[in-house]
């Protein structure tokens, strides 16, 4: 699927995703990568702001998979795992975990954001990694961290980017051949909150609670609930059950 990575770097852009769309309109090849040093309108899930000061890694990767479109959500897991593996060369791997579907955590703090958008027959994989700066994350009840807080030596951002992109290319090509099968176990081995009680925010104030029982072969979350048994979940924000319950209690008053 990706025979060659083609990297373009710009100093400042609204969002690398915006440039990726233009590139797709212009028939960009699978493996096109657009990096910016600064984003003025970086975005996360639900159009949350992703603060993008200079010093971190912001890039969009364009891929055109041969897997059928209904399997494309699995790319979310593949990307988060590739990033976790790359970080493992800089940070003690036992400190790194993955929060479903694709948050990468270091000591339970969020170090990166990954958001994927389908555009025409391509996927734009948007990635922000906190290398040296820990921006405030708006509208999200989750602490953030940066690689420089955990790494013994200074991180060369270009080296980090190249290692990550190389890992990502290999993993995406494997996914394009074999779908999620080779990734389920390695992802689960790094999963945060496995078999723990979690709260899942579905949509604004809707929440459900249960025990996180890992991921299905298609990547959906398996949530064991008291009332409805095992559920397969395709979208939502995961938090620990206790603080989320407190929040829900407050919301009632």
């Amino acid at each position: 699927m990706i025979s060659q990575l083609a990297l373009s770097v710009v100093e400042k852009v609204s969002s690398t995703s915006d440039l990726a769309r233009l590139a797709i309109d212009d028939n960009a090849a699978s493996g096109t990568v657009i990096q910016a040093h600064i984003q003025t309108k970086g975005r996360g899930r639900n159009n949350r702001v992703w603060h993008s000061p200079k010093g971190n890694l912001y890039l969009s990767v364009i891929i055109t998979p041969s897997q059928p479109q209904q399997d494309w959500p699995g790319v979310s897991l593949v990307v988060s795992l590739a990033l976790a593996k790359t970080l493992g060369a800089y940070i003690e791997p036992s400190r790194i975990s993955l929060k479903w579907p694709n948050d990468v955590l270091v000591l339970d703090q969020k170090i990166a954001g990954i958001l994927l958008e389908v555009y025409h027959q391509a996927i734009i994989i948007g990635i922000g990694v906190n290398l040296t700066k820990t921006p405030k994350v708006e509208a999200q009840n989750w602490p953030a961290t940066a690689l420089s807080d955990h790494s013994q030596e200074p991180v060369d951002s270009d080296d980090f980017r190249d290692q990550f992109l190389s890992q990502l290319k290999d993993d995406l090509n494997l996914w394009d051949k074999e779908a999620l099968t080779p990734f389920i176990k390695p992802w689960t081995d790094m999963a945060a909150f496995l078999d723990e009680n979690i709260a899942l925010t579905l949509n604004q104030d809707q929440m459900i609670y249960g025990r996180f029982r890992g991921i299905h072969a298609n990547g959906t979350m398996q949530l064991e609930t008291d009332s409805d048994g095992m559920l397969s979940i395709s979208a939502g924000d995961v938090t620990r059950a206790r603080p989320a319950k407190r929040k829900a209690e407050q919301a009632k008053h």
Binding site: I114, L116, L202, Q204, D226, S227, S234
Partner: protein
């Protein structure tokens, strides 16, 4: 079900003839629903009546008991056993979901919806978003037309192939 005023018995006969012809077309082609509209007449024929797929998915609508009580009636993204695509009352030209996921009718919580029933839309316009595992899938209009039916609610789980919107 003609909306046009019936001025003369000739006009009524004409409508009856039209409906008979359309019914025959439905028999011949296997269509289950026909909408016909021009300056003088608006006809909607359906063999089984129309029913939004959400109404047929009672297992999914069951509210999770220990969940936030203020949202007890809201749908939750459980995988549904029922394939709504098999629902014969949905027009063949309905736009369907490309993946299992959650449907959003607005770009972000609290924002204005992308479309409303009756809206005239352009080809390529975003109708809704299907999210699955932080993969955002904008569903766009394949051609210009009018939004006839929106078959899903905001935040509703959808199956692969499930009808989402009817445009003609």
């Amino acid at each position: 079900m003609s909306k046009a005023p019936q001025k003369t018995s000739d006009a009524v006969d004409e409508r009856v003839r039209l409906i008979r012809e359309l019914a025959k077309v439905m028999e011949d082609t296997g269509l289950v629903e026909i909408d016909l509209e021009d300056d003088n007449v608006s006809v909607h024929l359906s063999k089984t009546g129309t029913m939004a797929p959400a109404q047929m998915m009672s297992p999914m609508m069951a509210a999770p008991a220990p969940a936030a009580p203020h949202s007890a009636a809201a749908p939750t993204p459980f995988e549904t056993a029922k394939a709504a695509a098999a629902d014969k009352s949905v027009p063949d030209n309905a736009i369907t979901s490309p993946m299992v996921g959650t449907a959003y009718l607005a770009p972000e919580p609290g924002a204005a919806v992308f479309i409303k029933e009756g809206d005239n839309i352009k080809a390529g316009q975003t109708l809704l978003i299907i999210e699955a595992m932080k993969v955002m899938n904008p569903i766009t209009a394949p051609s210009a037309g009018t939004v006839r039916q929106i078959l899903v609610d905001d935040g509703q789980p959808v199956e692969f192939g499930e009808p989402l919107v009817v445009i003609d």
